[in-house]
Symmetry: C2
Amino acid sequence: MNKNDVLVEFGNKIRQLRDEKGWSQEELAFKSGFHRTYIGMIERAERNISLKNIARMALAFDVKIEELFINTNKI
Amino acid sequence: MNKNDVLVEFGNKIRQLRDEKGWSQEELAFKSGFHRTYIGMIERAERNISLKNIARMALAFDVKIEELFINTNKI
C-alpha cells in the first residue's frame, strides 16, 4: 500500500462511519473534541493523523482502533 | 482507552512482532527504513507515531494495519 493511500482509505472510513451514524462533521467534531475543519482535512486525506488522535477518533465512534482500518467496501 | 495507553499497546505490539520474527531493532530499522533509535522510541511509547509511519511499519512486517492493533496477549 502506498503511504498516501492509507490516508485516503482512513479518510473514507471516517466519512463512512460518520454517514452510518448520520452525523454531520460538526457533530463528529463535538463528539471527538476535534475542530470541524480538522475532521474535513482528515476525510480529504490532507492530514497525517497521529496514533493518539486515531484512538480519540475510535473513541468518538465507540469502535476499536482496528475497526477504523477494516475497509468493508472492498471486494 | 487512555490516549497514552494506545502508544504503550502499540509499542508492545511492535516489540512482540519483532520478537516473533527474531529481528533485532537494527533489523527492523533496516526493513522499515526507520532509524534504530526511532524503533526503540516507538517500542517504549515515547513517540506519537503518524498514520503514514504506521503503514510503513505494517509493510515491514508484511501485515495489515489492523493487525498492529489486535492485542493477542489480552485475555
